[in-house]
């Protein structure tokens, strides 16, 4: 007598073949929905309940074969190239920072342990990356409000503690705080999904709130703040084009794209035409933009560093050099001018090779993020990739004498604990998203406020 499998037996037999726990949930939901649809069709045809159920399960085919096929597809993905490139680039960064620090003469500015400290900072960064890589990135969504609360409280607390009173510490911490908002913003965009224009306005409102909050808390680092703001706009734009908010995605995307292009034009236009009057820019900010547009006119003052970089670049050889040059003698060169020092020390060919690898790395990061079906993974990946790309572009431009002279870190190359941890954290998020491609179902929407309160009261 033929053994007829029931739904529970079928699903158990199928999911037993799938090794990944998250993938089992993903597949179980979809297959169960299919059995239900098939059963409903049989019921409409006039079959009885039991017969319809039995036929629906029978129609599914062999569960073991199906499960084995699905198991082959649903496995954690590892991008060996990206992991290897990360280690190589980290090593290059450590080597360059050590070279600069060891050649620096003014020991009142630099401590002689910087070149060993950078090894520890990078190791800490790699550890953070590893932890995040193996974690479930959906936890960010699940605990977003507590995380954001800690972020805000932590910002106020640490920005006002004596340990961060020293200008340099305060600056670097303030930069990290601004940058750390980027993935949180991506999660909030996901939270506001399918709310159309209202969702976009909520996201934008949150973005403005965060900037004002950090400004009043004392985290005033204009370049990083602007970079973080632009990245959040890019994330919002990507969300719109992806249809995360629902409604007319092309219209939403077009308006946001116009903002992304318009805002930098607004800044430059205000400085060039109206001396920064309309945007109430501070004098030093107006000066920075003027220096960027014509550094030669300010060669003896604010344009000195840019002219020094251009001068060093023009005399760089294709290979070799053996010295970090005059730029390497600037205070903070181990943070802000590692790339131009690398050009001077190893030559242009090596420098362009390193830039090429870094560019390929982050473009690949963006590509794998854009391919994500899971919208939360998509938004997290795009936001983290975008900020890393923007920082790289600004840093490379500055190191080739064509950009703003600002304090921005370059992933892999810049010395510092905060920037190392934050950059590796973002790379961990991107790789975690990739690792869990087609494994993690999207988090379900949380119920409306009033029922959420009820669930909290019952301890759910």
């Amino acid at each position: 007598m033929r053994n007829i499998m029931n739904r529970t037996e079928y699903l158990k037999s199928l999911t037993e073949q799938i090794r990944n726990k998250n993938a089992k949930t993903l597949v179980l939901e979809e297959i169960t929905a299919h059995i239900e649809d098939q059963k409903q069709a049989y019921l409409l045809d006039g079959m009885g309940e039991d017969e319809a159920e039995e036929m629906a399960v029978k129609e599914m085919g062999n569960p073991v074969d199906t499960g084995v096929q699905l198991d082959k597809i649903h496995r954690p993905k590892t991008d060996v190239w990206m992991l290897a490139a990360m280690l190589v680039l980290t090593l290059i960064g450590i080597v360059m920072q050590s070279i600069i620090c060891l050649q620096y003469n003014d020991l009142s500015v630099i401590q002689n342990t910087y070149h060993t400290r950078t090894i520890y900072y990078n190791l800490i960064g790699l550890l953070v990356m590893a932890i995040v890589y193996f974690a479930d990135y959906r936890l960010l969504n699940r605990f977003i409000w507590p995380i954001y609360g800690v972020y805000l409280a932590g910002s106020v607390f640490f920005l006002h503690t004596p340990a961060f009173g020293e200008y340099y510490q305060h600056l670097r911490f303030g930069q990290a705080i601004h940058i750390l908002f980027v993935p949180l913003f991506a999660v909030f965009c996901y939270r506001f999904r399918e709310q159309k224009g209202k969702g976009i306005l909520k996201a934008f409102g949150l973005l403005l709130f965060n900037i004002l909050f950090l400004l009043f808390s004392g985290a005033f680092t204009s370049a990083t703040m602007l970079l973080s703001f632009m990245t959040c706009l890019i994330t919002l734009c990507a969300a719109a084009y992806r249809g995360v908010f629902g409604g007319r995605k092309k219209l939403q995307g077009s308006i946001l794209t116009a903002s992304i292009i318009g805002i930098p034009l607004l800044f430059f236009g205000d400085v060039l035409l109206f001396d920064g009057r309309f945007l109430f820019l501070a004098e030093y900010q107006i000066q920075r933009i003027r220096v960027m547009l014509n550094p030669a006119a300010y060669a003896a003052q604010a344009g000195y560093q840019t002219m020094l970089v251009r001068d060093q670049l023009s005399s760089a050889s294709l290979l070799g050099g053996g010295t970090v040059g005059k730029v390497g003698e600037l205070s903070g060169a181990w943070c802000d001018y590692v790339l131009i020092c690398l050009t001077a020390y190893f030559g242009l060919i090596v420098a362009f090779l390193v830039i090429g690898i870094i560019a390929a790395y982050f473009l690949r990061a963006l590509h794998i993020s854009l391919m994500q079906s899971n919208r939360l993974g998509f938004l997290l990946g795009v936001s983290c990739s975008s900020i890393l790309i923007l920082k790289t572009v600004v840093y490379v431009a500055m190191n080739f004498g064509i950009g703003l002279t600002v304090s921005i870190d370059m992933p892999f190359l810049t010395y510092g604990l905060y920037c190392s941890v934050v950059n590796f954290l973002f790379m961990g998020i991107i790789l975690s998203v990739y690792r869990n491609t087609n494994l993690l179902p999207e988090p379900k929407k949380t119920p409306p406020r009033h029922s959420l309160r009820i669930e909290r009261a019952t301890g759910k």
Binding site: E30, A33, D37, T66, Q69, I73, R375
Partner: protein
Amino acid sequence: MRKNMAVDKSLVSGSTTMLLLKLLSEKDMYGYEMIEELKKRSENVFALKAGTLYPLLHGMEDKGLLTCYEQEFQGKVRKYYSITGKGRKELQERKNSWQEYSHAVASVLCCGV
């Protein structure tokens, strides 16, 4: 004989991928809907089992030919599949191969009396 069976099996699998891509190039669909539509259009020639469909769909999604999203429909949350640009390109290539193949078969069948 065994060699012909192997060829037939791969031909079916390759054709099914192309047919699913074709359906999705017209509109986004969920799994059950695809099976029913395929059955209807082929006049029950292609009666695809769900156990065959889902590995194909998930495999195509993994290769970037499809994306998916959840949407509520008549009180049920369903997983819809949508074709990507890469998927449309793949569909065109498969259609071209199929047309070349079916033309070649037709030529041979017509020539031999």
